[in-house]
């Protein structure tokens, strides 16, 4: 399990911009491609908006083909329950709908969910 702190990745307590969302995306993308399960902490984040979540997490659904595994590969920590609901009920379903017909180029190693180290 790889631990990632959003605030450290973006160097900001306001998770909002496209650029910061891309920084998060890059680090999540590389780890998932390397078959690492992720613990993603939002500790220290004051404001989290939908566009940032879309850039950082929603766009993973454009790249990876196995969405059932992708749904489980990131464990969200220290996130406000409303923000988690925003992510799970709005951002991810919107991304899935948007990317459903796009050919995905990355495959997630199925053993990723067993990886604990």
């Amino acid at each position: 399990m790889i631990k990632i702190n959003v605030k450290e990745v973006i160097g900001n307590t306001i998770a909002m911009s496209t650029e910061d969302g891309k920084k998060l995306f890059e680090i999540l993308f590389e780890n998932i491609r390397n078959s690492n399960k992720i613990e993603l902490s939002f500790d220290g984040i004051d404001i989290l908006i939908s566009h940032f979540l879309n850039e950082g997490i929603g766009k993973l659904y454009e790249k990876f083909d196995n969405w059932e595994i992708l749904d489980k590969v990131i464990e969200y920590k220290e996130i406000d329950e409303d923000d988690l609901e925003l992510l799970r009920e709005k951002v991810i379903p919107t991304a899935k709908n948007h990317f459903k017909d796009i050919k995905k180029i990355e495959t997630i190693n199925k053993s990723i969910l067993d990886n604990e180290y």
């Binding site: 306001i14 404001i47 908006i49 939908s50 566009h51 948007h98």
Partner: protein, 301 residues
């Protein structure tokens, strides 16, 4: 050139004065005379502030004549408007109700955003009766969703301007954000026409089928719908704001180009205006009594 402002009560009053101020082109000095102002709705001051900034950028000197009415004068000082345009000190907002007049550039705005966040939290945390920390955070989050929309879509040369006010005795919060960017009509029609060309069939193309431009109110309604975005990437921000407005039985008014869109008491009003506004105004009113939100009922804080 002298413009006398006596009353700004509605979004249309604000746009009227915006247009009047915007007429100044070749003047050396523009005098804004508030001497006899009896009522200025504070959250609309952002629209006047943007107009004055536009004029200043044309090299015109703006001279403000302050209101005689002490209530109006003090409000303008408490919202930190006057100090931006004349020699006047701000006044401590002892009632803690004002979201100060703020101009945020589109780029390199990290520090201003941090300051705005800190101001909003420190100013109101535990000070607005019936407003729970959870609802306060929700409102602030929606404001940042609005900021994000302007940053990404407006291409506004002067950035955005905003101001707001809590009315604790009425459990109301008003907030207005304005930009002088390309407007929703142009953005949406550009995106939809590109999509039309990509998606049209060969037979449509051979028949010379053309994209039919939407009018301004149709483009606003399109932009408010779930998942619609001119970036093609799932726009949720405005829809989330509309959801909070519905839940709070609040209201919204949008003016962009020549379109007006309003929702009040769950009734929608749209109209095409005689005169186009160069940019977009979004003005919201939310209920701040946490007890009126079913999803906050078990919020014990």
């Amino acid at each position: 050139m002298r413009i006398i402002i006596k009353k700004i009560e509605t979004i249309f009053d604000s746009v009227y004065y915006f247009d009047e101020i915007n007429k100044a082109v070749n003047e050396e000095v523009l005098i804004i005379d508030f001497t006899y102002a009896t009522f200025i709705r504070n959250h609309f001051i952002s629209i006047i502030g943007m107009a004055l900034t536009v004029i200043q950028n044309r090299g015109i000197y703006v001279k403000i004549i302050k209101p005689q009415n002490s209530k109006v004068l003090n409000s303008m000082k408490r919202i930190e408007f006057l100090s931006k345009f004349c020699e006047e000190t701000n006044q401590d907002d002892r009632y803690k109700t004002m979201v100060r007049y703020t101009n945020i550039p589109l780029q390199n705005n990290s520090l201003v955003m941090q300051e705005f966040h800190a101001h909003f939290i420190q100013q109101f945390m535990g000070r607005v009766i019936n407003l729970s920390p959870k609802l306060q955070k929700k409102i602030l989050q929606k404001i940042f969703e609005l900021f994000s929309n302007v940053f990404r879509h407006s291409n506004s040369a002067l950035g955005l301007f905003c101001s707001g006010q809590f009315y604790p005795s009425q459990d109301k919060f008003n907030f207005t954000i304005v930009d002088n960017g390309v407007g929703i009509k142009r953005n949406v029609n550009r995106y939809l026409s590109e999509q039309f060309i990509v998606n049209r069939s060969v037979s449509d193309e051979s028949l010379g089928e053309k994209f039919k431009l939407l009018n301004a109110t149709e483009t606003i309604e399109w932009a408010l719908m779930d998942e619609n975005s001119t970036t093609g990437e799932g726009g949720l921000g405005l829809n989330l704001l509309m959801e909070l407005i519905r839940l709070s039985n609040g209201s919204i008014e949008i003016i962009s180009s020549d379109g007006y869109y309003g929702v009040k008491d769950a009734n929608k009003i749209t109209k095409i205006l005689n005169k186009s506004f160069d940019g977009t105004i979004i003005s919201i009113e939310l209920n701040t009594n946490s007890n009126n939100y079913y999803f906050l009922k078990d919020d014990s804080k």
